[in-house]
Symmetry: C2
Subunit: 256 residues, 2 copies
DNA sequence: GGTTTCATTTGATTAAGATCAATGAATTTG
DNA sequence: CAAATTCATTGATCTTAATCAAATGAAACC
């Protein structure tokens, strides 16, 4: 996954800010943040050396200082449960923010770990808040991003709550595909940077089940998969699979 | 569930604002919002006639204008999926905010429906944002609340993702218990305002399974249940059940 | 008050996915 | 490069919870 070219965005030419190349930029700019504000935002952002696979962005209990925007690569977040086990809570792709769940407690409830070589921008939260007071659009955008995150979590809950193993994996793949598409990557063909184990853990399935599903999906002509590399051949049919398999819950619409 | 008495809060006496009696108040006040600001906040809040069981606070697709704070009663949120089915995404108790997931899209992705007679405060979001610009503590508190919501969703995801039916129900009961406790209600004894069907739907289980589990929990001496009324007799043991039942995922801690 | 309707409980059977066990491929390490 | 280790796949069996079916209980309606 290389950096995406910026599609139609208003006059970037005068902007020397490095944010220009950040996918997050596309999320901010359309919402009333102009070039001047953008530069100001850019000034508070810290760039860091890229993380290598397996390195931590933060660990549970670390005090919350910054949000992180993924520029390239990918990250998994997970919470260790009692005695060594862990539960993967999310995979984060370029252009996404990590660390939002730490704001309440002022310390990170989960760990964030690079799944591959990953570069991130560090956004010191205090400075972001100060800036937010000056730039109303930014404040609003931050709330919006968090709201979006909530929405995505809800969708995942729906997935985990109800559906068959098949639906879960189909929905995960389509979800990743869609997120990549939104950022200008190919929605059809991509590399799964996470292990089968991570996927299984995330979806609440056994590794073996995930493996079998990939095999089945492939022989059904839905996709091809080789190791990490996936090509979605029939997204339509995958979308059908991703839906509640049959009669889920029978609460038809009733009146107030 | 009747209204809770306010526990130790700083000099309320001079405060004529109705927010004084709202559980949400306890969430706002500790975080740097003083009495004056509070009055201002109070002025933008609209009170509405109580909802009866089954009435909607909003429906999917309704345009997003306001957040709602539950004052008493309870609400379920759910998203209708294709063709009549629904997925319950949350139960909301007094003192909790509903509607945060609508900020991104400016329209509600889910429905909110009263599970019993419920009174809410309507907080027009535009006005709240304006006020947020003036009162830095408020802005911060709003982010904090959203972050908290994210955290709770993550915890639920962990629940749904992985665990046995037993763990799920135990965790739900303990979760409700804890939320009630935080608001000054009894954590030991309460009424489940939602139907078994809602519980099953929320937890991703069949109704029959939920019913059997209640029966089993009761005969194991963990709780007593009669219709809606639940008494948690052994929260310790419930907490053990709520944990990942056995070897979940075997990813031991490895080095960076 | 009695009937209809809906919610809940209980039992019997079935199916989906977990677990156990083993092998094969790929990456890392010395 | 070979050995070691991790990761992925495949097969066989077992467990859990879903599904099917029915009965009972509670509440709403006329």
């Amino acid at each position: 996954m290389s950096n995406a070219e910026a599609p139609n965005v208003v006059s970037l030419s005068g902007l020397k800010a490095a944010c220009r190349n950040c996918s997050l930029y596309h999320l901010c700019l359309p919402l009333g943040i102009d070039a001047d504000d953008m530069e100001e935002l850019d000034r508070i952002i810290r760039r860091r050396r890229p993380l290598r696979r397996g390195e931590y962005l933060f660990q549970p209990g670390d005090s919350f200082k910054s949000l992180y925007a993924i520029r390239s690569g990918s990250v998994k977040t997970y919470t260790p449960t009692e005695e060594g086990y862990e539960q993967v809570t999310g995979f984060h792709l370029p252009g996404e923010l990590v660390g939002l769940d730490a704001i309440t407690r002022e310390c990170h409830p989960c760990a964030a770990r690079a799944l591959e070589t990953t570069s991130v921008c560090e956004i010191p939260f205090e400075r972001l808040e100060e800036l937010g007071a000056k730039i109303p659009g930014l404040q609003r955008q931050l709330l919006r991003l968090m709201s979006k995150e909530l929405l995505e979590d809800e969708q995942l809950m729906m997935l985990l709550g109800k559906k068959s193993a098949e639906s879960r994996l189909a929905a995960l793949l389509l979800g990743i595909s869609e997120r990549l598409r939104q950022r200008g990557f190919s929605p059809r063909e991509f590399n799964l940077s996470m292990s089968r184990n991570d996927i299984a853990n995330y979806l609440g399935l056994a590794v073996e089940t995930v493996s079998r599903l990939f095999t089945r999906f492939q022989s059904d002509g839905l996709l091809t998969v080789e190791r990490k590399h996936v090509v979605l051949l029939d997204r339509e049919r995958l979308a059908i699979l991703a839906r509640p398999s049959g009669g889920d819950t029978d609460q038809r619409e009733c009146r107030p």
